[in-house]
């Protein structure tokens, strides 16, 4: 706790995730990103006089899925409510959301810090709401603000945590874990750059040991995972400094400025909202029957924690590797597929994590469409395991695979890359080398045992690198020491 001068941070997150649905939440318009402004609109999402919302069942199903994935409770009868405020990108003058009877309550997110510490944070609620449009403000000074209503009516869930996180690092790990679950369940793409995932943080600090919470502030406008961590850290430090100097924290909403790395208070006029929530009379209560919930449960995909457990158990890999390999569904699926034919889980895990991910990171290719398919990696892994090729050769084979998309066998054949482990064959070569280097043999025998490397090198040279170095080492030692 010394990190914050005797103060302990208290953090809660509100995460908004756009749901991956075909159409918008209350109309038939396509739910898509990047189309020309105001082309994905209709009387309903434009809020034209007389238009009415009709709830999209797929959006409800996605919300149920997320609630179940985090162990929350799905309310059988939830109620939509209007959140009233004026803004040009909110065409009805209210947002349809849920207030005192949200669809989801409770649940917990288990996550791990970088040092391996396991933590968890309970959820207060998950509710369904619609997104607003986008105001496109001009760059500095002149010009007019334009409004794009394509995003209006995009289905969202808001995932609200309890104030149970105690450091920016925890908040970061929690947020990443929420994203991971959203992606595993296909509830959301979790793409922050496209605004599919957004996060607001509530932050307060209190002297270590004090039970009562301090006055909190809310920070908005963070647009990356690390940005969330940085913004929270900034705000904790600001509050601590303020308190240390005898000041007090005032409740406020702050906007994070990523380029300047500061959070600044919004004008009080912009935040002085009384949202005047009341039940949305244009929609009937949302009734979710138990058999629907059961059905979603039955179709729940394997979640990251379960998958990692299975990897450890079935493929005999370390928990840390399992965590890395289950980071995304596509990576986990890839590894799973490698293991359909690979015989050694650990070698496979190493290869996927270091070689494959290294190449993908450089090239920016998508793992699920990358030309080196899981069975091809499995071939390499099996050839290493059976000592057909050395680790070094394997790297050559892989590099060629990345380059040409050819299979391991073809590359090995083309390049003559088969490893020589046959003792007879190697002994013959060793004998030739020993007799051709009698001077060095004498030096070795007189104690210069580091000359072993020289002999190994000679054998490798003679075999164009194909000799199995382990076997060569052993045989040479036998010869020279014997």
């Amino acid at each position: 706790m010394s990190e914050y001068d005797g103060y302990e941070p208290v953090i809660g997150l509100e995460i908004h995730a756009q749901l991956q649905t075909e159409s918008k939440i209350f109309c038939g318009c396509k739910n898509a990103y990047g189309e020309p402004p105001n082309t994905l609109t209709c009387p309903v999402c434009l809020g034209l006089p007389g238009a009415l919302p009709v709830l999209n069942k797929q959006a409800v199903e996605k919300a149920i899925k997320m609630i179940l994935a985090v162990g929350g409770k799905v309310r059988n009868r939830s109620v939509f409510a209007r959140k009233n405020y004026f803004y040009p990108d909110l065409p009805k003058g209210y947002q349809i959301s849920q207030f005192d009877k949200p669809i989801g309550e409770g649940g917990v997110i288990n996550f791990q810090l970088e040092d391996g510490t396991k933590k968890s944070c309970r959820l207060t609620r998950i509710h369904i709401e619609e997104d607003a449009g986008k105001s496109l403000h001009p760059e500095k000074g002149e010009g007019i603000t334009r409004v794009d209503l394509n995003r209006c009516g995009t289905p969202l869930i808001e995932i609200v945590s309890e104030p149970e996180m105690r450091s920016p690092e925890e908040a970061y790990a929690y947020f990443v874990k929420v994203k991971q679950i959203l992606q595993y369940t296909k509830v959301s793409t979790g793409d922050m750059e496209k605004g599919h995932l957004r996060c607001d943080a509530n932050i307060s600090v209190r002297p270590v040991g004090q039970e009562e919470f301090g006055t909190r502030t809310e920070i908005k406008n963070m647009n990356s995972f690390k940005g969330v961590e940085r913004a929270i850290k900034f705000e904790i430090q600001r509050q601590v400094k303020l308190l240390k100097s005898g000041g007090s924290v005032t409740q406020a909403t702050l906007l994070w400025d990523e380029s300047r790395q500061v959070a600044e208070a919004m004008r009080s006029k912009e935040e002085a909202h009384d949202y005047r929530y009341f039940p949305e009379p244009d929609l009937v209560n949302l009734v979710v029957k138990d058999d629907w919930i059961e059905n979603v449960k039955e179709n729940m995909p394997e979640l990251p924690d379960k998958k990692a457990e299975r990897f450890v158990k079935d493929y005999q890999i370390r928990p840390y590797d399992a965590m890395v390999l289950t980071d995304t569904v596509s990576l986990a699926d890839y590894y799973d597929e490698v293991m359909q034919s690979a015989k050694d889980g650990r070698i496979a895990a190493n290869w996927v994590q270091s070689e494959l991910l290294g190449v993908l990171k450089d090239s920016g290719d998508d793992i699920s469409t990358f030309r080196v398919r899981p069975n091809m990696i499995a071939d390499i892994v099996n050839k290493i395991e059976s000592k057909e090729i050395s680790g070094k050769m394997a790297k050559t084979v892989f590099a060629e695979m990345v380059e040409t998309g050819k299979g391991a066998d073809a590359i090995i054949k083309e390049k003559g890359l088969v490893q020589i482990s046959d003792e007879k064959q190697l002994l013959a070569i060793i004998d030739t080398i020993i007799s051709a280097n009698s001077g060095n043999v004498d030096k070795y025998k007189s104690g210069k045992t580091n000359l072993l490397g020289f002999f190994v090198g000679q054998v490798m040279k003679e075999t164009k690198g194909q000799a199995n170095p382990k076997v060569v080492n052993r045989l040479l030692k036998q010869k020279l020491d014997g």
Binding site: P49, G50, P88, Y94, R276
Partner: protein, 480 residues
Amino acid sequence: MPEYKELTAKQMADGVKAGKLSAVELTKEAIKLAKTEGKALNAFITICEEKALKQAAAIDALVKKGTSSPSKPLAGVPVAIKDNISYTGYATTCASHILDGYIPPYDATCVKNLIDAGAIIIGKTNMDEFAMGSSNENSFYGPVKNPVNHELVPGGSSGGSTAVVAQRIVPIAFGSETGGSVRQPAALCGVFGLKPTYGGISRYGLVAFASSTDQIGPLARTAEDIALAYQVAAGRDENDSTSVAFDHPVYSEKLTTDKKFKIGIPKEYFAEGLDDEVKQVVEEAIKLLEKAGHTFKEISLPMTERAIAVYYIITSAEASSNLARYDGVKYGLREAGDQDLMTMYSTTRASGFGAEVKRRIMLGTYVLSAGYYDAYYRKASQVRELIRLDFEKAFNEVDLIISPTSPTPAFKLGEKIDDPLTMYLSDIYTASASLAGNPGISVPFGKTKDGLPIGVQFLAPWFAELSLFQISNILQKSAS
């Protein structure tokens, strides 16, 4: 052509389908009347001449080809719709300055149903701004006059739709109700006016005032026509989550019945504030029906005295939210567009809304505000549930409830406009059923000694519109 004004909608449609009447001729006559007599009443905001004549010609062509089927029950019948119902290509003003220049790009479901049924929409009628009012004096386009006496109000808020039916410019018109806006003007102008069960007619395309009680409702001169109009407009609509799938009977075939109704007389509806002549007329109706074999029973709706307060809290709350979209950003009026956003908002709304609308937005905003919500909105919602239970209990004992529609006959233009609380009492007998979602009808019956029409109201259980049409038919027949 027989005398246009004497024809009912049913007679017109039958005549058109039989090739004896021309839809185009009927439409031309309706438009001519709209431009003359309608204008004198200030009943229309827009006349939809071009589209109406095209639709009429298409109907005539269908008949000529011999393909007009009985599935077009309103073939060639000129109708008018209130100017808060969305009709593609024609301004939908809600009689408000704030919707200046707004032309909807889509049809209300009710409009679609009407056009599918062969009806010809000839115009959009004047109303109280955003349907808020009981006298039709709250219109940006000026008040509508009562056809019976141009010094008097027609009632509201569907004053225009009611006046054009009473004046016989069209046989059927559609208004909308939030707490009496069809039934009350129907009573004041002497026509039939139906407030359907909540969810009976789709609200898609009806500009919202108070979503939880808004209902489109028809006006007509006969029980048969009003049944026909409801039949065409009603039904479950996928675009309105609150519309109800109900298996509607063919009302016109079941209008005549030997059934003897058990009718409740709510004592609270005959208490202080009821005009003596109105009371006498309703009592005459009771006597007449008693003679015909129907039985009456005094009942109690104890929550009645709370209804107006509950009604104004709930509907104003919803209105304050529903009317937030008129902000000068997207369509309609924009004032101070070169100023900052807050100035543009407040200038536009200050200039675009009339006094009554502003009053209700402020009231509604207040009752939903932090610190007041529990005392007002929540409490009103709880009492609303008690009002609903009052009706549920009553309808365990009786088939129908009878009462006056309005406590007074038509009053003078300007008489109550400066006294909103007195004006609000115009809805005292209608607001409860709106809050409870029950259907109600105002049947023209009797007159004051000055010759002013009086309406008798019947209320029924949810989706018992058939009983309302039957009792209307009985009363209409026994009166004539």
